[in-house]
């Protein structure tokens, strides 16, 4: 095991990835901590009180995994296309499509179809809806050469408008008070896997999905095609890879990931849809995927980090009286530094390649 890690670290790319990310995370937390000094709060004390609370209470500790669950999926939604050098920044919209489908199907079949089968049906339909919604972005990209940045971003606005429309009409709660749905029946809720907490089966599903996507990307011909398109699309086409088909399927898989995040929030945690909730789950997914360098396994750890920051941030607000915005300041700082680290990694890689080239020529 130790030898394996040593071998990994001998790869300069991997070493850069770990070092720059660790520095970025520490820098993000330190800078946001300095901000606390400005409002006369001792950051070390605040952080310590919050960390102690997280460590001493299993419910709060489990909240880290609970928060990480949808983030793993939105992280995967970005990461999978990222490996094909495509950018799906529409995970937020795909998430909302997932929540709408999950809640609508759960409410309509909840009392008819037995629990377990019902949940499987909801999950399957959510995947289909997300794959279609994401696949459409891939389709216009592949067939019409549309900019996937713009299309995926606009698809989020369409999804939000669609959700707002439904929450004011057919999906509106029976009480009719707020733009939110009714609560789904108990039979449609994912089982809790850690008693006394809110941790549900979805977390295991998220981890298994990440591992599966890793296997697809690195151990299957399709994954090879995705990465080939990502490394050099023209070369991939020359080599006989159907780039259009790969683009569409990649986006469909990404869309399904975003939608699955919605399914897990509805059937695992909130049991309902509230207008505009989880408004940052898509954006955080992008930060997570970049932090993981698009590696699905890395996404799990990056999502846990982001989940941890969120939970510690909330505890800091409640116990150390830091402003609520501090959690997002911390997340923002970490994300910013992670993105900056991406630039540094690139520079380091280019320099290394240049050096290799120079060394090669001088030989």
């Amino acid at each position: 095991m130790i030898n394996q890690i040593k071998t990994k670290f001998s790869d300069p790319d991997f070493k850069d990835l770990v070092v720059t990310n660790v520095v970025a995370i520490i820098a993000g937390i330190l800078i946001s901590g300095i901000m606390l000094l400005l409002i006369k709060i001792n950051p070390i004390e605040a952080f310590s009180v919050a960390t102690a609370s997280v460590m001493s209470d299993k419910y709060t500790f489990a909240e880290i995994l609970v928060k990480a669950t949808p983030l793993i999926f939105t992280g995967l939604a970005f990461a999978f296309t990222y490996k094909a050098n495509l950018f799906n920044i529409g995970a937020q919209g795909q998430f909302y499509i997932g929540t709408i489908v999950a809640v609508a199907i759960s409410l309509s079949i909840g009392d008819v179809v037995p629990g377990f089968i019902g949940i499987i049906v909801v999950m399957a339909l959510t995947i289909v809806a997300g794959a279609i919604y994401g696949g459409l972005i891939g389709l216009v990209k592949a067939k019409k050469g549309a900019n996937e940045f713009l299309i995926s971003m606009m698809s989020t606005y369409v999804a939000i408008a669609f959700m707002n429309f439904l929450l004011r009409t057919s999906l509106r709660e029976t009480r009719g008070e707020y733009p939110q749905t009714d609560v789904i029946p108990e039979s449609m809720r994912l089982p809790i896997i850690w008693g006394g907490t809110r941790l549900h089966l979805g977390f295991i599903l998220a981890v298994l999905t990440a591992v599966t996507l890793w296997l697809i990307l690195f151990k299957t011909p399709f994954g090879f095609r995705v990465r080939a398109v990502g490394n050099n699309a023209s070369a991939a086409v020359q080599a006989g890879i159907n780039s259009s088909k790969t683009t569409i399927i990649t986006f469909a898989i990404s869309g399904a990931m975003g939608a699955l995040a919605g399914f897990l929030v509805v059937n695992g945690i909130q049991y309902m849809v509230i207008q505009g909730y989880y408004a940052e789950v898509g954006a955080l997914g992008i930060g997570i995927a970049i932090l993981a360098n698009g590696n699905p396994i890395g996404v799990i750890f990056a999502a846990l980090l982001f989940g941890g920051i969120q939970v510690i941030g909330i505890e800091m607000t409640m116990r150390a009286k830091t402003p609520t915005s501090f959690t997002y300041l911390m997340l923002g700082c970490v994300t910013l530094f992670v993105i900056i680290s991406y630039y540094f990694r690139r520079v380091m890689k280019i320099n290394r390649d240049k050096k290799k080239l120079v060394d090669g020529v001088s030989k």
Binding site: E45, Q180, I314
Partner: protein, 331 residues
């Protein structure tokens, strides 16, 4: 690499040592959970003012946490309950579901939702302002102000309490107008489906004024009302506006009277009930004119005759001489 690991080690040590501190006793804690910032000049600010008043007048030390997101309702409630807080309040009926979810596991903590309506457990005691009593007073004013009997209303959203308060407002205003000899008074109701869209308020008010010839407006939709007031001001002739929920008299000359919600009194009433043990659970506690949480406020020179009629209305409610629920017809 070694340097970085050293830094990491120091950070971990600092955190771990700090984490060994003992926690303070919080078993008597009270907290108010707010969905937005305390300086929003609207719902959250009003609730915060109530908290401050309760702390000053009842010598309590209610804490607050602002900007709590929907996704964190349950975990926030639970976290305070776990720490032994004896009173956890949530500002808004959107906390209903979360509070009832958490309450069953913490029987020693009382959960109070302001404007809430769901009380499934013995330790859940929502408090509810009988807004229809406030709109009764506004209806009396409108019935006296209208000259043609065309009454316009706009709501921020449609729900049962909103329907009730608009029902009472319209019927009372129509009765008042009819008593003054105005032939077949009529009401026109619209829903903005927004509590913040100022332009929508203006546009909807312009439409209802021009198509229905409305001459007195009433809006219960926070900032949407500001747009409505502008439209009333710009109309020719100007349209009168009855202020609601806060004192809107200073905004424009078209607002000569408002019915203000006194959340400070409301909070002092609710927290007082909690402290003396009369805020029993599994029950919605409603407060209104009798508890003096609705206060009519008038501009200088506003008709004394109308003011007297409003006072008469207040006394009718206080003496149980009128049953306003008989005016409900929508629900």
């Amino acid at each position: 690499m070694k340097g970085i690991f050293k830094v990491l080690l120091v950070v971990v040590l600092v955190l771990t040592l700090g984490a060994c501190k003992s926690e303070t006793d919080e078993s008597d804690g009270m907290v108010l959970i707010l969905p937005g910032p305390i300086n929003d000049q609207s719902w959250n600010a009003t609730n915060y003012a109530g908290l401050v008043a309760a702390n000053e007048q009842l010598n309590t030390n209610i804490e607050y946490v602002e900007n709590v997101k929907d996704a964190d309702f349950v975990s926030t409630f639970r976290s305070y309950a776990e720490r032994g807080y004896k009173l956890i309040m949530g500002a808004g009926s959107q906390f209903d579901t979360a509070a009832n979810t958490v309450a069953k596991d913490y029987p020693d903590t009382t959960f109070v939702m302001v404007n809430g309506s769901i009380a499934e457990y013995d330790n859940v005691a929502p408090i509810f302002p009988k807004e229809y009593e406030a709109s009764y007073l506004a209806g009396i004013i409108a019935g006296e102000l209208t000259t043609n009997g065309k009454i316009g209303t706009i709501s921020g959203s449609i729900n049962a309490p909103m329907n009730d308060l608009l029902d009472v407002y319209e019927k009372v205003a129509e009765e008042g107008a009819a008593a003054r000899g105005i032939d077949s008074p009529e009401s026109f109701r619209a829903n903005a489906d927004s509590w913040s869209d100022v332009n929508k308020g203006k546009q909807m008010t312009q439409t209802t004024i021009s198509t229905n010839n409305v001459d007195v407006m009433f809006v219960y939709a926070n900032q949407v009302g500001l747009g409505a007031i502008t439209a009333c001001e710009e109309a020719d002739p100007q349209v009168k506006f009855v202020g609601f929920s806060s004192n809107q008299n200073d905004i424009s000359e078209v607002v000569q009277a408002s019915v203000e919600f006194d959340f400070e009194t409301f909070y002092v009433w609710a927290v007082g009930k909690f402290l003396d043990g009369t805020l029993e659970g599994k029950k919605v506690h409603a407060a209104g004119i009798k508890e003096e949480i609705f206060i009519p406020v008038y501009e200088e020179g506003f008709s004394q005759e109308i003011q007297d009629k409003v006072t008469e209305g207040i006394n009718k409610v206080k003496n149980d001489e009128i049953d306003l629920t008989e005016y409900f017809y929508t629900n």
